[in-house]
């Protein structure tokens, strides 16, 4: 599944125009996690997107030390303050989508009242922005409690409080808002109702390609924790050539062995750690290895096939970037022989396509099914692929704000492999050494 590969004259993709996603739901329902994940996916596809979090606007205008009355939605005195904060956020969104170059924005607030929602919808539509509501409903008290513990009490609002006080304070906040919560009931609106993090969805009036992609993505989202490892394929006997699809060199074989040892060692270390901390034995969890169909990649992966609870899967989509006319040329060769192409490449390294070659954007687009399956997976996954494919996969999990132009230069030397643990508020990253003697 892939993004369309053209830009219209407005600089936007898909001819889809601008879209604002308006979150609806009580606190601790996973709105922010869902929003950040969606933004990450959209940006990676090439759709310029940003999330606008109401809490931040509130803190900026009024600080963190505000009276609990602010969250009492029946309180008329604080209503003006709340509206001012929301309107400020909405104005920023409109600016981002009209003149700021953005195509998709998320208005991450509770938006509990139906009348106010219709007003917000009208405001956006007046600027030719298409609204899509996503309502996060959680019927499972356990999930809500876990959210509060994991996420809310580390927010700036509670950083100075002790955890138990923070939890009860937060629950009070929710309880005060609950009576004003009107679930979406308007068949004219475009909306997605998400129940229990993707267990059940109701989708209404979804128009357009981009909106249906949002629905597809939300279907695949979950909040279980698992780890993703990224490792480079071993060195081949003909490194400069893509077309020759050469097998591993002797050094490549040695690397593959050391990689296998290093990864297994790391997994055992983590299993021990989890056992100590929580008493749970996860040593029988499967590690899934995904590798490319290129010879050097699956030869590297073969070293894992003999280990017990490991399964290896070859995927054509994980192949490296096809260099086309730059086959067997170094960057300085290209600069010397094709100076125009080189200049064009420098202007936009991520999107530039040499003759008969792929661009990094093409590779990202090609990798989308892999990314979506990665999102769905609850098992740990190790990806063994050429550096160009790893760059695009890493870029998906990288912190917001990594510019496209840096992606072609990200380094994945064979001296390390990367461990990524996506969490609600970001992705934890570690680089772990692959060497003859361990760390």
């Amino acid at each position: 599944m892939a993004a369309q590969l053209y830009r219209t004259h407005t600089g936007k993709l898909f001819h889809a125009g601008s879209i604002v996603i308006i979150n609806v739901g009580l606190p601790a329902r996973g709105k922010t996690h869902g929003s950040r994940s969606l933004i990450r996916y959209m940006n990676w596809l090439g759709v310029k997107s940003r999330s606008f979090h109401m809490g931040q606007y509130r803190r900026r205008l009024y600080g963190t030390d505000i009276s609990a009355d602010y969250f009492d939605l029946g309180n008329a005195d604080t209503a003006a303050a709340r509206t001012r904060a929301e309107d400020s956020c909405i104005q920023d969104i409109i600016e981002y989508l009209t003149t700021g170059g953005g195509q998709l924005a998320i208005f991450d607030a509770s938006n509990l009242g139906a009348a106010r929602r219709r007003h917000i919808r009208d405001t956006f539509e007046a600027h030719q922005i298409r609204p899509l509501f996503i309502e996060y409903i959680c019927e499972n008290e356990q999930i809500v409690d876990e959210n509060i513990r994991k996420v809310k009490i580390t927010s700036p609002d509670y950083i100075t409080m002790d955890p138990d006080t923070a939890v009860s304070d937060f629950k009070t906040r929710i309880a005060r808002m609950a009576p004003y919560y009107e679930t979406i009931d308007d068949g004219d609106l475009s909306y997605i109702k998400l129940f229990n993090v993707g267990e059940h969805l109701v989708v209404n009036n979804i128009r357009g390609y981009l909106q249906s992609r949002v629905v597809f993505y939300m279907m695949n989202l979950h909040i279980a924790e698992r780890t993703i490892y990224l490792a480079r394929s071993g060195e081949s006997s003909n490194e400069g050539s893509y077309k020759s699809d050469a097998p591993l060199s002797a050094a490549g074989h040695m690397y593959a062995q050391r990689l296998r040892d290093a990864v297994i060692r790391r997994i055992e270390e983590r299993n021990r750690h989890v056992l100590e901390k929580t008493g749970v034995d996860i040593s029988d969890r499967t590690l899934k290895v995904w590798t490319s169909t290129g010879v050097k990649s699956y030869q590297t992966a073969e070293y894992f096939a003999s280990s017990g609870s490991v399964s290896v899967r070859k995927r054509m989509l994980l192949r490296g970037l096809n260099p086309g006319m730059c086959e067997n040329l170094t960057l300085s060769d290209v600069k010397a022989r094709f100076p125009d192409e080189y200049r064009s490449y420098l202007r936009d390294p991520y999107h530039h396509r040499y003759s008969l070659a792929e661009s990094y954007h093409d590779v990202s687009v090609r990798l989308e099914p892999v990314i979506l399956e990665l999102e769905r997976e609850r098992d740990d996954i190790l990806i063994i692929a050429p550096e160009s494919a790893l760059r695009c996969i890493y870029a998906y999990f990288a912190p917001q704000g990594l510019p496209d132009s840096l992606i072609p230069t990200l380094a994945f030397p064979r001296s390390i492999f990367v461990e990524l643990t996506p969490t609600a508020y970001g992705c934890k990253e570690r680089r772990i050494g692959v060497s003859p003697n361990g760390r």
Binding site: Y6, E139, N140, G187, H200, F216, M219, N220, N322, V365
Partner: protein
């Protein structure tokens, strides 16, 4: 099933109506479907069970795949029976419900589709067909229980109870079952407990298809300079005849489509955009529509390939669908990368695609349900526009040849394939004979 099969998933449809037609014939009036007609109810159950048993036998034979059990399945007890049988045989179940309460839509459907159904073949009087069919629908409505209830979802408090191990019909809770409900042809959808990537892909597909009438047109680029030489790949311009074709296209297209709008999709290679230069419609380029990459053989003529890579040349003829050029692609690879194009095609209205021989073979095979053995040998001649129109029971294609000379680039499958005992270049090409990489995994291999 066409979509899944095209992506390489084993797929089979088991249509209970077909079983009924075989058992009791086609010319039945609506009273056969009356739930109070005890004898008929028995026969209908027999058909349902027979189809179910065939389906389970099919699963045992293929080990992994997707079966579509196509029937009305309107009652909870019927659905529970299916679910129990499948679970007993280790088969996962997902229900796909189509719900329509827009009476205009229903009328239009009855008119268009059922008029051509085998059940009414030869019946001339349209009014009586419509009336009989409406009565048939009423019989079903009497006993219809939508999946998971009436569509409203009561908000449960607390955590979900574990499902009882073998529920009775009273305990059978469809909120715990995988299902998707499409309402009024897509204005609303309900998606429940989708558990695997394959299921989510199926749901995405179901979300994107529509039944509004529209046309899809295909053509190859005009004859190119490389075509004249029988040369593979590259990025050549059009030959003089190719340019003539480009000039002749606008008249043909406006004849085929009249005033209707159409969007044109081309590849990023020159020869396709040169072909559409004279067309006044909206145009978009897709890299996914670029020709199959011949890797090391790019730019060579077929004679060159036979001379320099004899091993490759012979291997390709042995299994043209799976064969992957060294450093290039196979037909299977092209199918994989075309999936987004196909999905977008399903969503769109009128589209015209200008692309290349191998790519068009794959797209054509998708719409006409053609398998991998035949696909690489499909005839897609130059200077010909193909128009697809849909009916509910299939897809029609019409060919419009423009009378401008072009070389024939079609190579038939050889009668016998000779492989020389002498090995060519070490490890040239690749023709995996065991379990090629599949785009979708349907569980354990």
């Amino acid at each position: 099933s066409r979509y899944l099969a095209w992506l390489g998933v084993n797929c089979r449809v088991f249509n209970v109506g077909e079983y009924r037609r075989k058992l009791v014939g086609a010319k039945l009036d609506h009273s056969f479907f009356d739930p109070h007609n005890a004898a008929a109810v028995d026969q209908r159950l027999q058909c349902a069970v027979s189809a179910l048993q065939d389906m389970l036998r099919w699963f045992e034979a293929v080990h992994s795949g997707v079966a579509i059990y196509d029937a009305t399945n309107s009652t909870r007890s019927r659905r529970k029976k299916i679910l129990d049988e499948c679970t007993r045989h280790g088969v996962e179940v997902m229900f796909c419900e189509s719900w329509c309460d827009d009476s205009e839509l229903v009328e239009a459907n009855i008119r268009e589709v059922k008029r051509t159904s085998p059940d009414y073949a030869g019946v001339q009087d349209l009014a009586s067909v419509m009336e009989d069919f409406r009565r048939r629908i009423n019989h079903y409505s009497e006993v219809y229980e939508p999946v998971g209830g009436d569509g409203t979802r009561p908000l449960a408090k607390g955590s979900y109870p574990l499902p009882p191990a073998s529920p009775t019909i009273e305990e059978y809770d469809e909120r715990l079952v995988s299902y998707v409900r499409k309402i009024n042809v897509g204005s609303q959808m309900v998606i429940n407990r989708i558990t695997s990537y394959l299921e989510s892909r199926i749901v995405y597909f179901v979300m994107n298809i529509h039944i509004a009438p529209r046309s899809v047109l295909f053509s190859r680029h005009g004859e190119s300079m490389y075509n004249l030489d029988q040369r593979l790949g590259g990025d050549p311009s059009l030959s003089p005849n190719g340019h003539k074709y480009a000039r002749a296209l606008p008249v043909l297209i406006s004849r085929l489509l009249g005033d209707q709008p159409v969007t044109i999709w081309t590849s990023t290679l020159k020869r396709t955009s040169e072909t559409v230069a004279g067309l006044p419609y909206k145009k978009m380029q897709w890299k996914a529509l670029d020709e199959l990459d011949a890797g090391l053989c790019d730019g060579l003529t077929y004679e060159d390939v036979e001379r320099e890579y004899p091993e490759e040349y012979a291997m390709r003829d042995e299994n043209k669908f799976e064969f992957r050029y060294r450093g290039g692609e196979s037909y299977r690879d092209v199918v994989l990368r075309l999936e987004p194009v196909i999905m977008e095609l399903e969503r769109q209205q009128n589209i015209m695609i200008i692309s290349h021989q191998a790519v068009l073979r794959c797209i054509y095979a998708y719409f006409l349900d053609i398998g991998p053995e035949e696909l690489p040998y499909l005839k897609i001649p130059l200077h010909t526009v193909m128009k697809l129109t849909w009916t509910a029971y299939g897809c029609d294609v019409q060919m419009y040849k423009i009378d401008i000379d072009a070389v024939d680039t079609h190579r038939a499958k050889p009668k016998s394939v000779r492989r020389s005992a002498r090995k060519g270049r070490a490890g040239t090409g690749s023709c995996p004979s065991s379990a090629p990489s599949r785009p979708l995994s349907t569980g354990t291999p």
